[in-house]
């Protein structure tokens, strides 16, 4: 496993998000809110179109953390604000979520990570942070 040190910039992770992913996540998570699969309903509440579940985007951040930590099961804390929705077009490419991270502090076998999560150059998660067990 890569040793994490304070100040380390972690390798960027990029994730494609398609409509099919949102349908699958709706089933897997139990969140069947129609703004995540119906353009008609999403636009009726003022959204540009179908948007990803905030929790789905957060799951992508958690996935990046597992990669940086070297294995799953090392996330002790993870949190974020849902700043901007990730709009997912109904095509083969979908949207792309980009996750970057920086090691803010290493202390007592734990690394505090600050995350930057964007889509089309805009921040989608705010104040995104995590604590990884690295001992």
């Amino acid at each position: 496993m890569t040793r994490l040190r304070t100040g380390d910039e972690l390798p960027e992770q990029r994730f494609a998000v398609t409509r099919a992913d949102l349908v699958r996540y709706a089933g897997a998570s139990g969140d069947r809110n129609p703004i995540h699969w119906s353009d008609r309903i999403a636009t009726s509440v003022g959204l540009p179109g179908v948007v990803a579940h905030g929790m789905f985007t957060m799951a992508l951040a958690a996935r990046a953390l597992d990669v940086w930590a070297g294995s799953p099961g090392r996330v002790r804390e993870i949190g974020c604000k849902f700043t901007k929705p990730v709009v997912v077009p109904d095509d083969e490419r979908g949207a792309e979520v980009v996750v970057n991270g920086r090691v803010a502090e290493v202390d007592d076998g734990q690394a505090r990570i600050t995350l930057e999560v964007t889509c089309a150059g805009e921040k989608v998660l705010g104040a995104a942070k995590a604590v990884l067990e690295i001992a």
């Binding site: 929790m55 996935r63 099961g73 849902f82």
Partner: protein, 135 residues
Amino acid sequence: MAVDASLAGRTFPPTAPYLVTEERVAEFAAATGSAYDGGAAPATFPIVVAFAAMTALMDHPDVGIELHRVVHGEQRFRYRRPVVAGDVLRATLTVDTLRQVGGADIIGTRSEITDAGGQEVCTAYATLVHRGAAA
């Protein structure tokens, strides 16, 4: 109409026990593209249990929440130990904070997620934004 002020500080009954199965975790992992080797569930998996507690809060007749006006503002998980298949989890939700900002109710919730033995597994903090009627 704003959410009932007496909601602040209120603790709701625990959710029905939720058996974590390997199949469900594997499906959640597949839906989010997360690694899963039969060990620790992905870090955002407990949303499946916390969501049940939040839905119970939002559906409660005394509380005055209109579901179509609710937006997930913020989410955080803090772990005592990873969730694994075989865990039987219950979430006990408390409304920690309730404030009004610009006609919206900002509801700060904390769900203590415990296992069959009553031991703490993780705490899920969720902020729900209930938009005002005029919005």
